[in-house]
Symmetry: C2
Subunit: 454 residues, 2 copies
């Protein structure tokens, strides 16, 4: 049934077309004819196809029920399905422990500054509180970002930067602008799992390139460019999610050369930049926005509640992206959100806050790694910053099994294969060191390691 | 050049394919061969195609430069281009008068309530100020909306409603969920111009159905359903933008019957609901969310700066839409925004504010209509509510000419053809009565009527 639905939804077969005969469809799908008969009957009941006596089955003109993107590919084990993991993390209440989630607890964020900022916002100009805001977003915030870029050696003008509704929305907007269904896109493997979910929504082909301690496996990357002719590569360079690695200068340079040779466009997500102790090589800085598009947000370092992201790129692409954002959202982020964020960033407090946060996180990573080591769970690399530990489990353990076990105890983990397009990370798990402190988590992990078969 | 670019971008021709010969392409485009030669040369310079000696021109493997959606169709006169009109309205400063824009001035909105709400938000719980928020959005706000729906006779549960980043984003999300490139979509003609811009971004075919004083021309609607087999119809029923008309009961009923006969899905945008003196027939209420999807936001009645929209529909579609929103935005609207809005709506002040606003707007519509009448500009219908007047110009006047003239004087108007997919509204203009008060506007209109040829 799913196959037929997909063919109709993708217009491979159209209203009026005749479906394959029961026998030939059963042969090609490797199932019994009675299975096909039942499937066809149920599709008739749904109104998607109809039977013409003596002639076979035909596609009706009925509206094709939309296929949820969670079902565009064979339904994966929920424990490792990106959609399910996101929902579990986002929709559970505080009683559920979330060592696998991707954000800091509220008390690690600059709450005081946010509250002060909201009181200041209550005294803001009428227009800030009422209007849609300019199409590129708050000039104050954009100027602030341009200043930070200049410190890195990136000298760009205001026409090369725009604000968006969030970091994810920024990546999505660029994908809408550059991609067509059927295009091929490269991602890191392992890599941020929501990139996969997002790319499924764009109906593109996803190819994973193995990620090492120094960035993508450069030979595999070059081979993938030649063999797959991808349109786009999406990555995050500074404090890679989930491994915590950063690009080496050689990898960065070789990657960009390969990209140039194959006219590859790159989206570089800078979301963990402020967690670095010192700047690592950045593709956007080396490239100067010829083929690299930089995307970022303040969701990890400041607040995920005040939604705001940004895009920096070639000026002509920014023009087109602004048009697209107006058409699909009638503007960018909330002017209230941008005024709030701009106010917090311009005070000296933010830099101090991040310096303290980086120190606090260093201790948290060390403590968490020690605790996990007692269970035989060890990080593949100790990251220079950030709040993730990408850990290998004791031999033979499957992280999806561990995740399912702990789910019974109201603990949401992030099993490795959620992050791996090639499903090659069953022996790994990502831990958020700021959310992996409660004793119940270590108890559950210990129990699950004992109980699940190696 | 544009034709070739579009064909490559849409994959109608692929890398390696041979382009039409200079002569045959010149014949089919109705231009001289030398024009084609120059076009091909420039495309070679861009790297999109290459010349093979003695063989012709071939598409290279080069990345196709994205086509800005503003250029997917032949570049229209800027004065009537939806993208240009939006940008002009959104990006100009307060010095520019905006009688054509689609929102209330800041001092017409409940500023006091917003400021009080922000001070209360500064005392909100940590999680509200820090986290992403649930995937369906603030339960408090959704419950409030469900209560309002129940008052209309719509008895639905929380699984049938979700919050989105804005009203436009809500419509966009539904379009991403239901539409595929090449599908046909019906819109009102005249109708809200940003629906056209949004649908262009979805690469669908747009067909306009004439809009009358009682809703869509029902015979034209039924004919379009039969002839065009559209997937979707997007409309706003209560206080239609731009005409200010509302559905008659007969039109509503016949429209839904036709929709059922052709399995048409309908998005009904409720954005001006609160401006009605009393409820007019609503498709969602009659249909009960079988094929109607209701979308709304608070941008017009409360604030456009605090971005939040909602979608109500069949539960299975809401499930899929939530997944899609997580993939493309990692969540819904800002929890800060939803808490702010929920707080304002739950106080008694909002209903009082809207009652006063409706009275104030009634006077404003009458005053504005009187003033415009002295220039021979008359509304086609006096709306029951809202802030628009859809006016016909004196005989023979072209609203695009008027708009261009007034642009020289820093006045942004909304000429009729921006709203008309069939370009049949050159003699009409939409005025926002709250932004059409400054004497300079009437002076400029008078001067332009005198100076532009009939």
């Amino acid at each position: 049934m799913q196959t037929i639905r997909q063919r109709v939804a993708s217009r491979a077969i159209s209203p009026g077309d005749r479906l394959p005969s029961v026998r030939s469809f059963a042969d090609s799908m490797g199932v019994s004819p009675s299975t096909v008969v039942e499937a066809y009957d149920r599709l008739v009941a749904e109104g998607l196809i109809r039977a013409r006596r003596g002639s076979g089955f035909y596609v009706t003109g009925a509206a094709v029920p939309p296929i949820p993107i969670g079902e565009l590919e064979p339904r994966r084990d929920r424990a490792i399905d990106p959609f399910w993991v996101s929902r579990q993390s986002l929709d559970t209440d505080a009683a559920v422990l979330k060592p696998g989630c991707g954000w800091l607890p509220a008390d690690w964020l600059p709450q005081g500054a946010i509250r002060r900022g909201l009181r200041a916002l209550a005294r803001a100009e009428d227009d800030t509180l009422a209007n849609y805001g300019g199409t590129r977003g708050s000039q104050v915030l954009r100027r602030h970002l341009l200043g930070r870029f200049a410190e890195e050696g990136l000298d760009i003008g205001p026409e090369q930067i725009m604000l968006a509704g969030s970091g994810t929305q920024a990546v999505d907007l660029v994908c809408r602008y550059l991609l067509r269904p059927g295009d091929t896109v490269l991602v890191d493997d392992p890599g941020y799992f929501n990139f996969q979910a997002l790319l499924r929504a764009h109906h593109v082909r996803i190819i994973g390139v193995p990620y090492t301690h120094q960035g993508p496996d450069i030979m595999a990357f070059e081979a993938a460019l030649a063999a797959e002719r991808p349109r786009l590569y999406i990555t995050n360079s500074a404090l890679h999610n989930p491994t915590g690695a950063s690009l080496s200068p050689q990898t960065a340079h070789r990657l960009l050369s390969a990209a140039a040779a194959h006219d590859l466009t790159i989206i570089e997500d800078d979301i963990f930049t402020d967690f670095e102790p010192s700047p690592s090589p950045r593709l956007a800085v080396l490239d100067g926005f010829e083929r690299v598009i930089r995307v970022g947000s303040f969701s990890k370092s400041l607040s995920a509640a005040s939604r705001c992201g940004y895009i920096a790129a070639r000026a002509d692409w920014i023009e087109g992206l602004v048009d697209l954002q107006v058409a699909t959202n009638f503007g960018g982020p909330s002017p209230m959100a941008t005024e709030l964020i701009a106010g917090i960033l311009s005070g000296g407090g933010y830099r101090r806050h991040m310096a303290e946060l980086r120190q606090r996180l260093t201790h948290a990573r060390e403590e968490c790694a020690e605790r996990l080591a007692t269970l035989g769970i060890t990080p593949s690399v100790m990251p220079r910053g950030g709040f993730y530990l990408w850990c290998s489990l004791p031999d033979g353990q499957d992280s999806a099994d561990i995740a399912r076990f702990c789910m019974q105890r109201d603990i949401v983990l992030a099993p490795g294969n959620v992050f791996s397009a090639s499903q090659n990370a069953a022996g790994f798990m990502r831990f958020n060191v700021t959310q992996t402190r409660d004793e119940r988590i270590f108890t559950a992990l210990a129990d699950s390691l004992r109980s699940t078969p190696s």
